[in-house]
Amino acid sequence: MQNHDEIPVEPETESTAFNMDFEADDDWSNYKDSDVMQQQSAIFEQDAAKFPFVGDKEPLSSLEAEYESGSPILLQKIKVLGKEFGAIRRTRGDGNCFFRSFMFSYLEHILESQDQAEVERVKTNVEKCRKTLQDLGYADFTFEDFFSLFLEQLESVLQGNDASISHDELVLRSRDQSVSDYVVMFFRFVTSGEIRKRSEFFEPFILGLSNTTVEQFCKTSVEPMGEESDHVHITALCDALGVAIRVVYLDRSSCDKDGGVSVNHHDFVPTPSDGATAGTVCDLDLFGWVQTAKQEGE
């Protein structure tokens, strides 16, 4: 976890230039918070029109094309990834991309595997998370809608009942803000509950990340929408739900292995705490946080 060279170096981030014409008499004190907020949401809406929350499948060659004039090591790594993954999906970089990717990848995994036992196992862990939040003093009504919406999605990817959905419908739901935002908030609640419950364990990592208290970290970096996830969030979610997560980093670090290039990754494997059942599902892959990869031969 402390392995800092695995923290993704944003690959070739093309800074989005917003053309703002500053006039000489433009004074910041003329702008109120609400103006700033409005402008921010206008920018998000522009983005929203361009990228869905979860994109269509794309071949890795489309990623290659993007980095053509970039660092040669990235191109080599993309080639290596191409041997392991058949396609990628991009997610919108709005600060919730980790949670949205996880939602899609996990539900897609259940839809394809029809693994009843896995659904039962996760449901048991979800109930434990509910209990955690109650024990921490959260009012039920502030989180129950988010829990029930997630459980509904989980049920619906299992086939054979009236509420069952197809793969196309799952893609649509993952792009529907009213579903996706609720599921993201469900994950944020679960993540925050896990961090608070095991605050002693998480404290040193949080100190290293943001130099704040556990309480403050949860309030400012976990519970609000749009706050980006880091290794602390991923560890907590992985432990709480008992679902393993693999993050693949597409960065410029050299990863020579036996003369050839390999792509570094980090596996988050759940630590079973107080008897929480740990599964072995490992199906989330992110490149530099914004792209999910799809395993070959679906």
């Binding site: 109120k32 907020m37 009504f141 502030t142 809608d145 988010f146 009213s178 309030k219 929408m225 749009g226």
Partner: protein, 152 residues
């Protein structure tokens, strides 16, 4: 029509009625659950003591994923409150989370009264007096408290 936002607001209201935090009250308009009136009482033993400050909370169908628009109706003098009554408070902006219900919003605003953040001033005069001339600041606050009794 019952939407997730409306259902949630009914529960917010129930909680506020059953378990009201000290010094705040709030309720939706008779025929509109999306628009609330609220009153915050100035905390005891502070310059705000005795004030009754009125606010409105306007909710959208995105609630609780988006915060309501909260605004003081009563005239205010405070470093983080604009002339039009809108409030500069992180949880009402980028630090919003559905974890906050109406009771929590009003409690946070109540504690903001006595615990301003002069680093992000909405009222620069109030921010200046708060840091440089507490006596004059407190006098202005008392004026606002007295006005809060007479304004309709």
């Amino acid at each position: 029509m019952s939407t997730p936002a409306r259902k949630r607001l009914m529960r917010d209201f129930k909680r506020l009625q059953q378990d009201p935090p000290a010094g705040i009250s709030g309720a939706p308009y008779d025929n509109n659950i999306m628009l609330w009136n609220a009153v915050i009482f100035g905390p005891d033993d502070t310059p705000w003591d005795g004030g009754t400050f009125k606010l409105t909370l306007q909710f959208s169908e995105d609630y609780p994923n988006k915060p309501p628009t909260v605004r003081f109706i009563s005239r205010m003098f405070h470093p983080n409150i604009y002339a039009d009554g809108s409030i500069c408070l992180d949880i009402l902006q980028n630090q919003w989370s559905p974890i906050y219900d109406v009771a929590a919003i009003l409690t946070s605003i109540q504690s903001l009264l006595c615990d301003p953040n002069p680093n992000s001033p909405a009222n620069s005069e109030a921010a200046r007096l708060f840091s440089e001339n507490k006596r004059e600041y407190n006098r202005k606050v008392r004026e606002i408290v007295e006005q809060s009794w007479t304004a309709d």
